[in-house]
Symmetry: C2
Subunit: 336 residues, 2 copies
Amino acid sequence: MNIVGEKTIRLAHGNGGRLMRELIDRVFARHFSELGPDKTLDASPFSLPTGVAITSVDAFTVQPLEFPGGDIGTLAVNGTVNDLAVSGARPHFLTLSAILEEGLEIAVLDRVVASLAAEARRTGVKIIAGDTKVVPRGHGGGIYFTTTGIGVRNTGVTLGLDRIQVGDAILVSGPIGDHGIAVMLARQEFDLHGNIRSDCAPVIDLAEAAAALGAHFMRDPTRGGLAGVVNEIASATGFGLRLDETCVPIRDEVRGVCEILGYDPYTLACEGRVVAIVAQTTAREVLAAWRDLAGGESAEIVGTVTNPPARVVLATSAGGERILPELEDEPLPRIC
Amino acid sequence: MNIVGEKTIRLAHGNGGRLMRELIDRVFARHFSELGPDKTLDASPFSLPTGVAITSVDAFTVQPLEFPGGDIGTLAVNGTVNDLAVSGARPHFLTLSAILEEGLEIAVLDRVVASLAAEARRTGVKIIAGDTKVVPRGHGGGIYFTTTGIGVRNTGVTLGLDRIQVGDAILVSGPIGDHGIAVMLARQEFDLHGNIRSDCAPVIDLAEAAAALGAHFMRDPTRGGLAGVVNEIASATGFGLRLDETCVPIRDEVRGVCEILGYDPYTLACEGRVVAIVAQTTAREVLAAWRDLAGGESAEIVGTVTNPPARVVLATSAGGERILPELEDEPLPRIC
């Protein structure tokens, strides 16, 4: 993919003049087509169905830009779409900002934007506004995206930390840690190879199925992983959470890499999973619904909400117990 | 401003765990207070007045982060708010993403976020969603912000490129190029010093005054400057635009720096100016209204929309004429 013979991003691609216009036309507008904004507008009108409007924003700085199972484009769509989905909302629109680094191969940008467009079509969102900046070599990461999602809460859905009760079941929609390990292996910093693919995917169907069955609370375990979500729930509700290690789905390969590198799989990011807190009486029903959906085949009931104190206890496969903390001082940079 | 004794941003401030939560609490949430989002939510509900909803997104990568007359915080508010304002909309909400670089002084972040919060209060927008990422040293610019603005079009306002007619007057709300020169001098790359302050400011009042008087089209001349806006109009409408150099307000100091460094002031970014195209019959009225408003004291009528061909002609002070092109290959990086 050439832009008037150019193969890499130059500072002039961000100057607001002809080269920037051409870059936008030939990469972003070309892939977005009917999905994208009117380029003659500085600001775009949009129209939501009636209901409670919901918004969420995420920046994406993943390194490398492309990894097995996804790239920064699929991540930029799903990361934001999923925040809306687990809040009980249907995503409708995204805005997109791209901070490009001088020297970036335009072929890479082209692939990633194509992939972002495909994922937006798959999830049913339109990209209604965009912005492109170029930073000098050594001041960026190739591509940084930020997406803001705008959607509408689904009718009748009432999710909230305040709906969580002692005795509720904790469900996870699939194996944890795939995204984190796929990205780390793709960096080739370690002499490790594997077939792990990122779980990066929209969770709209999974979230809507659980919400329709009266789920009390949902969250997608991205940065901070499952450990982050359950600790956040403990700290916000004052309840304890008890996870059964033997029930938490973790691929053998993920577990193996974690053991070698010293990572805790519970703190690794997922990008296509849902953690749901549901009444014990409906837990099996939610589980069955999830297992019938794409991406939910390996869903499990992994634990229970318990009485205070507010802490997360992991019942280990060896028959013991340990406190599962949130991430403290670990850097774990640029996995999303 | 210390965060548990820390003075600089570390990678762990972006890991989704305790340090990230503390950073958000002690910097972002502290300054945003009633202005900011509910931190327990991944996605935030918002409610707009009835009318046409409008959105716009901008990334901010300015270097240095602080400059005379503003900083990346004031810029992140005004850059997006002004895109909505010149589209005839009243801004209500912003989402904010922050990409921080390892090693950033937390004191700098604290000042810039305080300044962003103050500007949001001044412009009447709430910050309803946020996200923070940390990238390794040498992969960022200290702070990159992206803001998405959400607003509602003011009743009765009809602005559009299609409303521009031959004979219309071209107005500028104040001196051009102040922001671009203020930022470039603040970089101290040249042995030049001056008292030029950025014009960074909200243009909500200026835009509403012009729209109320029936302006046909408005734009804020940011990247690409006045030259960019008028060339965009020429190219979109097929009309010519004629500017009278003697009428275009440019500070002597800006002109002086441009002469020394070889910059064209017409291509320099403004961050608090409006270019309006209005019917010749109402031009004086808009001018008078602007001159009564803060930031519009030096407004001028600077030219006229003419018959095709689509090009911008500058009538020079020497009595000649020259074509005023948009930016071509100039890098001009990181002024916004």
